[in-house]
């Protein structure tokens, strides 16, 4: 398929799927907590409402950073689904995330400041593993291109089990889920109020929400890549990963950042690099 066409499909479907996944997340979380939970479409209602709200800022320019966060996130996902270079996708993802952090710094409130700081720690924690994932896929398939990796005949998960596990660990951080919802939690009952998101409101908050939808679809797409040889298994794996994240979210206390950093790096070192060494030398 033409990369541009795939980009377009992603552009249309990602927010729908992402929003729906967010709805499933809320519904399922509620059920795990013995609650009935909101309707499946609740995330869309939320975003629509936020769009209609007044936008309050501390510094006028803080919103632009969020806007760029959104468009870069869309761009990153587009790169991924258009079949581009995985490393480039990682870099673009970082760039996008950085814009959100800068926005939070710009807002200059203690809560968003610490949120930004913690977001950086989170990035520091997952970044190596995500790079290792890209490297592992390269070593297994001989190409950094998503296209080629997807077209690879073997099931990558079989050759990269450690990398897959490490990547799932990072998903917890990336999805902002317990035990690693440090910089901003989905529910505000945390020591940082909403952390990095504290000072964003109205349409800006809606943009962040939508950007997360795009991001989540991208990340699940990446899980799919591990099983790309058999599309059905891939989709099942992506959904399974998503469910796993939700179940873990509801089964863990929030941990502190040193635990996260050490845990993530240890995972990267042992699972990720162990896998890569195995791949290279055996």
């Amino acid at each position: 398929m033409n990369p541009l066409l795939r980009f377009a499909i992603y552009l249309i479907l990602a927010p729908l799927i992402g929003g729906l996944l967010a709805g499933i997340d809320r519904k399922l979380s509620a059920r795990l907590q013995a609650r009935q939970g909101p309707p499946l479409w609740q995330p869309f209602y939320d975003v629509r409402k936020l769009w209609n709200k007044e936008n309050i800022v501390v510094r006028r320019s803080q919103d632009f950073y969020v806007f760029f966060f959104l468009i870069l996130m869309v761009f990153t996902g587009g790169l991924f689904f258009a079949g581009s270079d995985l490393l480039l996708v990682v870099f673009a993802l970082t760039l996008a995330a950085i814009f959100l952090v800068l926005g939070a710094y710009k807002a200059s409130s203690p809560y968003s400041f610490i949120g930004a700081e913690r977001e950086l720690l989170q990035m520091m924690a997952y970044e190596p593993m995500i790079l290792v994932t890209a490297v592992g896929m390269y070593l297994a398939t001989g190409s950094f291109y998503v296209n080629d990796i997807a077209a690879h005949s073997g099931v990558l998960a079989l050759r990269l089990p450690g990398v897959l596990l490490g990547f799932l660990f990072c998903l917890l951080i990336k999805f902002r889920k317990s035990p690693f919802d440090l910089s901003s939690s989905h529910h505000a009952h945390q020591e940082l109020v909403r952390g990095i998101l504290t000072e964003f409101s109205g349409s800006t908050l809606a943009m962040i929400e939508v950007a997360h939808w795009f991001e989540n679809v991208l990340l699940l797409g990446w899980v799919y890549l591990f099983f790309a040889a058999s599309p059905a298994a891939g989709i099942a794996a992506a959904l399974g990963a998503f469910l796993l994240v939700i179940v873990v979210d509801n089964a863990c206390a929030r941990l502190t950042w040193p635990t996260m950093l050490k845990g993530a790096w240890a995972t990267t070192l042992v699972l990720g690099f162990g896998n890569i060494l195995f791949l290279t030398y055996f």
Partner: protein, 301 residues
């Protein structure tokens, strides 16, 4: 479909309550009542919330906090007073440190009775609040669309608190220009501005009852002094300030032949606007270490 009906996000603050209504408010979110079914999220952060649930009566300290939170809620917003104390001061209304219900500090839209208010009653209150949100949202939309329906008229004593709030929002941009956030206009208290009412006449620009701009003027001999022309940042660049100044000039009696106004030396937009209206600089003086006053004058044509 209404935009607010399905996603009311709440923030809860315990003013001076006994905790009874507090824990019942929290209980609304828990499995048996699960207000999230209705889209309710407890945000804990005023900037994300639509509905402000206040429990407990108000004392001087919690009053300040309520006011702060209220101002940080984005429009449209609704305040729900939960429980007897929040509605009226309840059993504590005779205490020396209690000022009364929440409506003594911020406007309350919905009252929920009970001691302690039951979760069902609080859910009812939220449902009622959502309807009000919807109404307020429509009104704001109408205001934004109805910018041509602006009304310019003299401000009354009752408008003064709103004008003060507007003044503080407006002068934020000036503070940024001068790198000084201690500008007197930002420090003014309600008592001071009410005292001003004796000497100054106030004009306001409002849309559907919401004040978006204001100006004040005073006559001394044949000179009309025009001060503090403020316009809500959202409505700037639409000619409201210019119109306010002209309205003020027009409101002065005929014996006033000269108008005088002033602005800070770095407020380029203000200076440009005044000059467009025919004002000319005639002197500058030191006002604050950071600000110099630029005085402008104009003869009546």
């Amino acid at each position: 479909m209404p935009a607010f009906a399905k996603s009311p996000w709440v923030i809860h603050y315990d003013a001076s309550s006994c905790n009874g209504c507090d824990i019942e408010t929290l209980a609304c979110l828990t499995p048996l009542y699960d207000a999230e079914r209705l889209g309710v999220v407890n945000t804990g952060n005023p900037k994300h919330a639509d509905i402000f649930l206040v429990t407990g009566a108000v004392n001087a300290q919690s009053g300040d906090v309520i006011r702060n939170i209220y101002h940080q809620l984005p429009e449209p917003k609704v305040v729900v007073a939960v429980g007897a104390c929040a509605a009226s001061g309840g059993i504590f209304r005779e205490c020396y440190n209690i000022h009364g219900g929440v409506d003594t500090v911020v406007p309350v839209d919905v009252y929920v009775g009970g001691c302690a208010a039951r979760p069902e009653a609080i859910i009812d209150g939220i449902v009622r609040a959502v309807q009000i949100l919807e109404v307020k949202h429509k009104a704001t939309q109408a205001a934004a669309r109805g910018i041509d329906k602006l009304v310019y008229e003299p401000a009354l004593a009752g408008d003064i608190p709103e004008i003060l709030a507007l003044q503080k929002v407006t002068y934020r941009s000036e503070a940024e220009i001068y790198g000084d956030d201690s500008l007197p206009a930002m420090q003014q208290t309600l008592a001071e501005i009410e005292a001003d009412l004796a000497q100054w006449t106030f004009l306001k620009a409002s849309i559907n009852g919401k004040i978006v701009g204001s100006i004040r003027g005073r006559i001394e001999g044949a000179t009309g002094y025009i001060r503090r022309c403020i316009v809500h940042p959202y409505f700037r660049g639409r000619g409201i300030a210019r119109r306010l100044i002209t309205e003020m000039e027009r409101s002065f009696p005929p014996q006033v032949v000269r108008f005088e106004t002033l602005t800070g030396h770095k407020s380029r937009r203000n200076l440009a606007m005044c000059e467009k209206l025919g004002y000319r600089v005639f002197k500058t003086e030191e006002y604050l270490p950071t600000v110099q006053w630029v005085h402008l004058q104009k003869e009546r044509k």
